[in-house]
């Protein structure tokens, strides 16, 4: 065995010592050196916690780490895009109704994410359109968003302020004025949900949404204006 006068020679035994595997003369010699060498004691203090962690690992797992399936990333991005759309709907309604129709938690969520999705709008896909009803009397709120589908157009409706139980009939109007029925729903006091309806008319050919609520008729023109221009009109006064 070579003589170990050099601090470095002793230091290189610290690993085996920290693992509790140094024996005999080497062990006795190293311990004597440690008594007089603050540098090696400090070095040992760095290795000991690492050595104590080793028993927690399974050496069978050292070779390769499990990899996530290749499509997981795309799935996550798609899920987030879907959730962003939902938030956008919430936010839009919150703007229209000043948060009236939303529960506290939902409103908080919408507010929290309000800042997030505006930047993320470039996700592709055909956007839904929010339409604005004209000549709506004070006290009544009515809101619709239209989403294009292969079968036609999906309409999400929300009405507030008419008598509870009021029958609402919805249709889309095409270029020539022809009406394409979308269905009926009833407004109930305290109900906060949207009615989801559908019509066979393509969104690209839709010129207006017509809602008959009781004896009143409301019309929302459907233009090709970008959503930004529509929402801008409805900016809450500051």
């Amino acid at each position: 065995m070579k003589t170990r006068n050099d601090c470095r020679d002793w230091r290189e035994l610290l690993g085996v010592y920290a693992l509790g595997q140094l024996e005999g003369d080497e062990r006795a010699g190293l311990e004597a050196h440690l008594d007089g060498c603050a540098h090696c004691r400090a070095e040992l203090a760095l290795l000991e916690p690492v050595a104590r962690m080793l028993p927690h690992a399974d050496p069978e797992r050292f070779e390769s780490a499990p990899q996530p399936p290749p499509e997981l990333g795309a799935r996550i991005v798609a899920k987030i895009a879907g959730e962003r759309q939902q938030v956008e709907k919430l936010r839009h309604r919150r703007r229209l109704f000043g948060g009236f129709a939303l529960g506290g938690a939902t409103a908080a969520l919408a507010a929290a994410v309000l800042a997030i999705f505006v930047l993320g709008g470039g996700g592709g896909g055909q956007p839904e359109q929010h339409v604005k009803f004209t000549a709506v009397p004070e006290g009544i709120n009515i809101y619709a968003s239209l989403e294009p589908h292969a079968y036609g157009t999906e309409i999400r409706m929300y009405v507030h302020g008419v008598a509870s139980g009021t029958l609402c009939t919805v249709a889309l109007r095409g270029p020539g004025g022809a009406a394409y029925p979308a269905g009926t729903f009833r407004y109930r006091v305290g109900d906060d949900s949207e009615a989801v309806l559908s019509s066979a008319l393509d969104l690209s050919r839709t010129r207006a949404v017509v809602v008959r609520a009781g004896n009143k008729t409301f019309v929302a023109p459907v233009g090709r204006a970008p959503i930004a221009a529509i929402t801008q009109d409805q900016e809450e006064p500051t």
Partner: protein, 179 residues
């Protein structure tokens, strides 16, 4: 009028605001997150669910991420830890599944995190260092035997154990380990 949010387009806050950010964070950290999820949940399907939920929660809370406080990786791991606890609890209440072994309490999760950390650090270690630690420590083989097998002096094996543990410490510190 330009919305306030657009004006802040170059802000560093809101780590996962855009889809591009999500993609970047995913490609940088999903491997590690998934590895830990598999280790702690013991199930590839649940691990996928956990990683997905982690990114969705991170996206929802994106505005709360502050790089001044900690790295995105640390933040994602903190979220994943909670997700794993939630999934463990959900599984524990499902009859017939809990008996199989996932403990919903926090302590085994800490144990799983520790195990995963050491295993991940060992995977990142150089082959020479990893090999001597595996042969001498985990397999308990005599130093002389390992030295002969590798064709180097016994002293070299011993010093490699030292440098290997040193390197392991550096890797663990890079992964966020503190004494």
């Amino acid at each position: 009028m330009i919305p306030e949010t657009l004006k802040r387009g170059n802000s560093t806050r809101g780590a996962l605001s855009r889809e591009r950010d999500v993609r970047e964070a995913y490609s940088a950290h999903s491997g590690e997150l998934y590895g830990f999820a598999v280790r702690s949940l013991g199930d590839a399907g649940l691990a996928e669910e956990a990683v997905q939920e982690t990114f969705v929660r991170a996206w929802r809370a994106g505005e709360r991420f502050d790089p001044k406080i900690g790295s995105l990786r640390t933040w994602l791991f903190a979220i994943l830890r909670n997700v794993v606890i939630d999934l463990g609890r959900a599984r524990a209440v499902r009859p017939g599944v809990a008996e199989g072994g996932i403990e919903p309490s926090v302590e085994p999760l800490e144990e799983a995190l520790l195990s995963w950390q050491v295993e991940e650090a060992m995977r990142r270690l150089g082959e020479d260092h990893r090999r001597v630690i595996v042969e001498t420590y985990y397999r308990g083989r005599p130093y002389a035997e390992v030295a002969e097998e590798l064709g180097v002096p016994e002293g070299t094996i011993k010093s490699r154990v030292y440098y290997g543990l040193r390197a392991l410490r550096v890797v663990l510190e890079e992964m966020g380990y503190e004494d």
